[in-house]
């Protein structure tokens, strides 16, 4: 077998659009769906489940807008296939606020500190920070530590200064500072 055979354009064998059934927990609710194997988790969340709070920016893992929590850890939903999430526990931005609309401490901090302008990057920011807050790992609330934490999330509006403030404020509100 040639080492480079996989580089040649090839087509799947089983059907025109291979599908698989997945069962996963999203924001505490168990869902079962049939998905195309090639469906990205980001598209499954947005189009399959209509949870459009998760945003899609670059679709190649650079911008961080699509960040969700997979089994407690922040991850790019555009770099994960929905079929890979079979059995996983997914948490999206929709899990942050209470049902009556009361914002979570993290969301309140972003609002208070003006940590967003257009808001496109905010769901990814929040889920990344949420995963870090909930991990039990030590928080480094220096400017440098916070910038390191959010380094995988691009924001084109704010210049980050108010996001850094918001993370620190959120840690205070959550009793972690």
């Amino acid at each position: 077998m040639s080492r480079h055979e996989h580089l040649e354009r090839s087509i799947p064998s089983t059907s025109a659009d291979p599908k698989a059934e997945v069962t996963l927990t999203v924001n505490g609710v168990s869902v079962t769906r049939e998905v195309s194997t090639r469906m990205l988790l980001s598209d499954f969340i947005r189009h399959g489940l209509r949870l459009t709070g998760t945003h899609v920016g670059c679709e190649h893992g650079v911008c961080g807008a699509c960040t969700v929590m997979i089994d407690g850890r922040a991850a790019r939903s555009c770099l994960t296939f929905a079929v890979q999430a079979d059995g996983a526990d997914i948490r999206t931005i929709e899990s942050e606020a209470e049902e009556d609309g009361t914002l979570s401490a993290l969301q309140q901090a972003f609002q208070e500190c003006h940590g967003l302008q257009c808001g496109y990057c905010t769901p990814g920011m929040i889920m990344n920070i949420r995963a870090h807050f909930d991990s039990g790992e030590e928080l480094d609330l220096s400017d440098e530590g916070i910038r390191e934490l959010i380094s995988g999330n691009l924001c084109r509006c704010t210049g980050y200064a108010n996001i850094v403030k918001a993370v620190r404020r959120a840690a205070e509100l959550a009793g972690k500072a």
Binding site: H6, R38, L40, F81
Partner: protein, 289 residues
């Protein structure tokens, strides 16, 4: 920006994954997917089938074997970074992993996957080469070990055969008392290195360097050992002149042409200053032997 169609196959053991590789020509192994899935989203890769190895628990193990760190093919970067036994055996792993993309990428991306992807600017292939490590390939006729020197052939090209899967990588532990350092320059934190250098230095009680291993990435078509620099450092006492000379010698290892990120001359400048920095750091943190 949507991936092309593919058959999705879940392997329950490495034997099954290898069998599926032979049965499905054009199949690729799916580990963390943090390089493969973007390549598919861009349609740069279009495998007919993906063999998902994430559910093979044997491949999620980090073992310390004879003082060496053996990392299974499904081990996430982040798990290796946070593993204290791996850090104790080889602290360079944590030092280098800090520079690999961002935490959300390291949460899913695998170290062995990064080795197999073999980007010439990636950190972990360089660390495997620097530490004298190897990968273990499993094919239809069994397993073989491939030393890092023979594994990385070119940018994104390895000596893995198409019917083989890399089941683990082994990073040797650092020699007792050896000093180590890792330094990288990238335009933004988490980007691939424009240049990065790692060093392992041993020094005798008389202050004379008894051994030096230096390797770099981002400067050539694959990770490279800086053999001339190593040879020039051994038997010296690391005077300022010795360290200056090491940096000058490092420049000749740059073969990357001018590209969008840097000119060759700029990479030579970076490599020289990073080499001087890691040599100083590795010597400075060295324990008395």
């Amino acid at each position: 920006m949507k991936p092309p169609l593919f058959d999705y196959l879940v392997a329950r053991s490495s034997e099954e994954a290898v069998k599926l590789l032979s049965e499905y020509p054009g199949a690729m192994i799916l580990a963390g997917g943090q390089s493969l899935i973007p390549a598919m989203n861009f349609r740069l890769a279009a495998p007919a089938a993906l063999i998902d190895i994430n559910r093979i628990s044997d491949l999620r193990r980090i073992d310390i074997v004879d003082g060496n760190v053996r990392v299974g093919a499904a081990v996430r970067h982040r798990d290796l970074e946070q593993n204290d036994a791996a850090f104790a055996a080889n602290p360079l792993l944590r030092a280098a992993l800090y520079h690999v993309a961002h935490v959300p990428i390291r949460n899913r991306g695998t170290t062995v996957g990064s080795l197999c992807h073999a980007d010439a600017a990636a950190e972990m292939p360089m660390v495997l080469l620097l530490t004298g490590g190897w990968v273990t390939a499993e094919g239809p006729s069994g397993q073989r070990d491939i030393p890092a020197e023979e594994f990385f052939e070119f940018h994104m090209t390895t000596s893995r055969e198409a019917d083989e899967m890399i089941v683990s990588a082994t990073f040797p532990g650092l020699p007792t008392g050896a000093g180590h350092a890792f330094a990288e320059f990238a335009r933004r934190k988490g980007d691939y290195a424009i240049a990065a250098v790692g060093a392992i230095v041993e020094r005798g009680a008389d202050g004379v360097i008894s051994s030096a291993r230096i390797a770099a990435c981002g400067i050539s078509s694959r990770p490279v050992r800086l053999s001339e620099v190593e040879a020039a450092l051994v038997d010296t006492k690391l005077s300022d002149d010795d360290i200056h000379r090491a940096g000058e010698l490092a420049k000749q290892s740059v073969t990357a042409p001018d590209d969008a990120h840097a000119t060759t001359a700029y990479r030579q400048h970076l490599l020289a200053s990073l080499t001087r920095r890691v040599v100083r750091q590795a010597a400075g943190i060295m324990k008395e032997s």
